[in-house]
Amino acid sequence: MLNAQNLVTSPLGNSGIWVFLELLLDGQMVWVSLYFGFLGLCSLVTGGCILFLHWRKNLRREKRAQEWVEVMRATTFTYSPLLYWINKRRYYGMNTAINTGPPPSVTKTETEVQNSDPLGELDSTESRSHAAQESNPNMEATVLLQPALQLVPQQSLPSPMLRPQASSPLPIPVFQEVPFALSLCNLPPMLNHSVSCPLTTCPERNTHFYSLPTLAHGDHCFSAKRFASEL
């Protein structure tokens, strides 16, 4: 900022233009020009670096996704992001569980489940904002407070009703029809960053579920370097 004394001592009054001319005559303009020039240069360099780092970030994400595909194809153990998510939430103290596979029996036929995606398809090509959106009223429902849940694997379009079996004490949820369910023949093409290929069959695998600490030990050392390089 300019010194107020310059305005007081100036014989021409408080006009900013005259102050500017005085500075010019005094030679201080050189330093002011140098300052703003250096500031502009730093801004250009910083902006260019940020742009370059953003481009590099996108490339690294693509490369990391492709490496993940290769690792998942070559691996002998089974890794699931759902298990990773559940293990982490259990570490945070939440009571989480997931059930997959054919149920031993079915008792109750009217159990509705809350949809995990109340906003619908965020990855739709149509424009969607990230503000609160109306949830699909057809997908929300009440939930029975039961500790266990048997899930029915559905290879085709799901049917809302299941055949009850009297022997199991556990309730079986009945899911609403999913009209937008895709057939296996019309799956989208695999993107560069997305992983794995859609499976048309479910081959039998000797699944070995690795615990999170085991994966963490091997993955943490690998990820720490990437995190450091990413920053």
């Binding site: 089974t78 503000a131 695998r205």
Partner: protein, 232 residues
């Protein structure tokens, strides 16, 4: 008697004993300390979160090794609340609860909050704390600039209108313009963290008013800000 009265002011006007001049370095050191403090705190709380938000991993999730296709319906229980998992058509796997696909970044993000256009990156599980730190730092910075300008204008009210006052007003107006929405954003995000909600979910999305991710205000803040993130 007037002589005595005249003598009084002369006694009062006696000069104090001469003091040694203060060394120039002490006031300059204090000024330098203030500048360094400003730079350090700005860099620590402002530049570091801003830069790291541009390039940090928000919590990208990829497909596992045993995906069984979109026909398989997965249900996850979280504290006695069931979530039917959605199939991500782009990433080809069943997304865990609160995991959404960002159309700008084309990735699935764990605990997705929103895509921040200011840093061109998603805000998710692994960088939400940096986002909160950045918003807080920006609020403090804008507030400090605004308070400084207001104090300067108040203390120079008796002085004539000068270019200094013009610049102070020119700086204070955009500082106010940034401070108001930033403060609102900070409040909204703080309320969301307290209730263990996410921006993209909105309010009243949970059935019967029960949020299974809510552990209480203190625990929610601890899990969001301090809890270890774990491996990627």
């Amino acid at each position: 008697m007037p002589v005595l009265k005249d003598a009084m002011p002369l006694m009062k006007e006696s000069h104090p004993p001469p003091q040694a001049p203060l060394p120039w370095i002490l006031p300059s050191l204090f000024a330098a300390f203030n500048v360094v403090l400003l730079l350090v705190f700005s860099g620590l709380f402002f530049a570091f979160p801003l830069v790291s938000l541009n390039f940090s991993d928000p919590g990208i999730l990829h497909q596992g090794s045993n995906e069984q296709g979109p026909m398989m319906v997965h249900v996850v229980w979280v504290n006695h609340r069931a979530f039917r998992l959605h199939w991500c058509q782009k990433c080809c796997f069943h997304r865990p609860p609160r995991t959404y696909h960002c159309p700008w970044c084309n990735i699935c993000v764990e605990d997705f909050d929103h895509h921040c256009k200011w840093v061109n990156n998603c805000i998710g599980h692994r960088n939400f704390r940096f986002f909160m730190l950045l918003v807080l730092s920006l609020c403090l910075y804008s507030g400090a600039v605004l308070v400084t300008c207001v104090i300067f204008l108040l203390r120079t009210t008796h002085l004539p209108f000068s270019i200094d006052k013009v610049i102070a007003i020119v700086v204070a107006v955009p500082a106010t313009g940034f401070l108001v929405p930033l403060f609102l954003l900070l409040l909204i995000q703080a309320m969301s963290v307290s209730a263990a909600e996410r921006s993209c979910e909105g309010k009243c999305r949970y059935l019967q008013g029960y949020n299974p991710f809510d552990h209480g205000c203190a625990s929610n803040w601890y899990l969001t800000i301090c809890a270890p993130l774990g491996p990627k």
